[in-house]
Amino acid sequence: MSTTTVHPAPPQRRPFLREVRETLLLAGRSLRTIPRVPERLIDVTFQPVIFMVLFLYVFGSAIDVPGMSYIDFLLPGLIAQQIAFSVIGAGTATASDMAEGVVDRFRSLPIARLSVVTGQVLGQYAEALLGVAVVATLGLILGWTPDMSLGDVVVLLAVVLYALFAFMWAGVLLGMAFKSPDAVQGTGFAVMLPLSFMAGTFVPIAGMALIPRTIAEWNPISALVAAIRELTQGTHTTGSWPLEHPIAGTLIWMTLLLIACVPLAVRRFRRITAN
């Protein structure tokens, strides 16, 4: 029979540092699995490419945006759409984790219960950021010419990172609420697709009929699109207040989203784990 070596006890760490370490470990685990799960890899690589090609080369020729080239108009929309769609990815990954026993395993370890959730969020965050980076890079390669000062770049990064953060929590909450990855995907797409289209993403809002235009003017995603557009091109969108003050509008929307989602997500996790 083999003998068991007695290993040294793990070092004691201060609680906050411990949670940070746990979060990073769990996030790392999430990221390491991206290349191994084809659907997730496609989400961050293939899908943005398809959308870009579709709209640039298939529809783009028929869409006329006064004052700028279509690609300059489109890229902010695509970036915002990638951010919005990441909700679905995050939700699906969370739901499939919850469905498997692996979350039980983590829960049976003496780690902070919250670390499982924060680890998920961080991992999904990094993955979604990757998707956004792919879109932006591809855009640049295909001829997107953003016109930004250094200040604009900093603000843009801040807006994008903040928006992504809020959407991640929404996605994780969705995943915990629906529990089935298929349900998350189905519902997610059913909601996100029209919502991301009615946001000035691919065509200017001003040209839409009354009802879709009204939805688009107050759609949080529209504010995000308008914000990115203003920062990258200096374009000013007219319409509702969030559209005319898109950066502030985006920050307000995203903060509201966080206020709504984070406590619910934490509470739901506690309820799931208590049961």
């Binding site: 083999s2 068991t4 070596t5 793990p10 498997e100 026993g101 395993r105 829960r107 049976s108």
Partner: protein, 326 residues
């Protein structure tokens, strides 16, 4: 007055209700350190719910449970440090390899990467999982996955191991492998609480067996006790038809201790001496000249155990379980 060494597990009136359904009904359980206790019962008996409460994954509705003296509700962390639960479905990330899973768990336990790797490799070797440790868990067979799962449970060297239906769904060879691994662990001094549907498994591994049905303890004792009450092996003689059954019964009754089950045309005779008794019965049957469908040596099943100890088949009692007082 100081209490003696606390029991590894101790529950009092442990109850879990889901709405109107009582999954676990005022269960009193006690597991002494360095022993093996098996919770034996059919599907839906409440075994999994019970051990999940003990492992702090579910909160009890009423009653208490203590692991090594620590209350599962009040001192969850202390309990989790001592306990490891291995479920029927492997609790591993199926997109990571076996080794990656173990290293991650060791790291989450607090070890740095180097030590984590050493722990992982050592456990993999101990469970004979080295050859497939580099493969993604999702690609492993049930038995292999179970072994990695077991290894993962032992990363933090728990003093109490809880195995929830460890061999359900495994082929006989994998089952034997799991049993011998478990025996090895017990030899090293781990306390073990396992749940199972199989009497042979409880018999093979446990010092004490607790029979559970509808969330309630039905009987308790050593394997030998239960077997004495249930009866050990027996020879079953199945007649071809009802008339033959009657003739066989009349012919065998004088010489043997027969029990009869007319609905299945079966006559059962205790067979403590196994093959010898089988031979004696077969000879007697042959002497009667009555044609038979089957003469077989049988071991008592869970159904037999329940029948003997409760007077019912395990699911015969369909009356709703009474709600215990809140």
């Amino acid at each position: 007055m100081n209490a003696p060494t606390p029991a590894a597990v101790e529950t009092h009136g442990l109850t879990k209700r889901y709405g109107d359904v009582v999954a676990v009904d005022a269960l009193d359980l006690r597991v002494e350190p360095q022993t093996v206790v098996a919770l034996l019962g059919p599907n839906g008996a409440g075994k999994t719910t019970t051990v999940r409460m003990i492992a702090t994954l579910i909160a009890p509705t009423a009653g208490t449970a203590r692991v090594g003296g620590h209350d599962v509700v009040k001192n969850g962390d202390a309990v989790r440090r001592q306990i490891a639960l291995t479920g029927q479905f492997a609790a591993l990330d199926k997109h990571l390899t076996g080794r990656e899973n173990l290293v991650l768990i060791a790291q989450l336990r607090g070890h740095d990467r180097r030590v984590a790797r050493a722990i992982a490799d050592e456990l993999l070797e101990r469970f004979d999982a080295g050859e497939f440790a580099g493969r993604v868990v999702g690609t492993l067979s049930g038995g292999q996955r179970r072994r990695v799962d077991l290894a993962a449970s032992l990363v933090h060297q728990p003093s109490l191991l809880v195995l929830d239906e460890p061999t359900t769904g495994l082929d006989p060879r994998s089952r034997q492998a799991v049993w011998s691994t478990v025996r090895g662990l017990v030899a090293e001094g781990v306390t073990l609480l396992l749940t199972t549907q199989y009497l042979e498994e409880a018999d093979a591994l446990a010092d004490r067996i607790v029979l559970i049905d509808h969330g309630r303890k039905v009987a308790e004792g050593t394997a030998a006790d239960l077997k004495a009450r249930v009866g050990a092996q027996r020879v079953d003689v199945v007649a071809v038809d009802a008339a033959g059954f009657v003739r066989l019964h009349d012919a065998l009754e004088p010489g043997f201790d027969v029990s009869a089950a007319p609905e299945s045309r079966t006559i059962s005779i205790p067979a403590p001496a196994a093959a010898t008794d089988l031979g004696a019965v077969a000879a007697a049957v042959h002497a009667t000249g009555v044609p038979v469908d089957e003469i077989a040596l049988r071991r008592p099943s869970l159904d037999d155990a329940f029948l003997a100890l409760t007077g019912n088949a395990p699911d015969a009692d369909d009356a709703p379980a009474p709600l215990t007082a809140a």
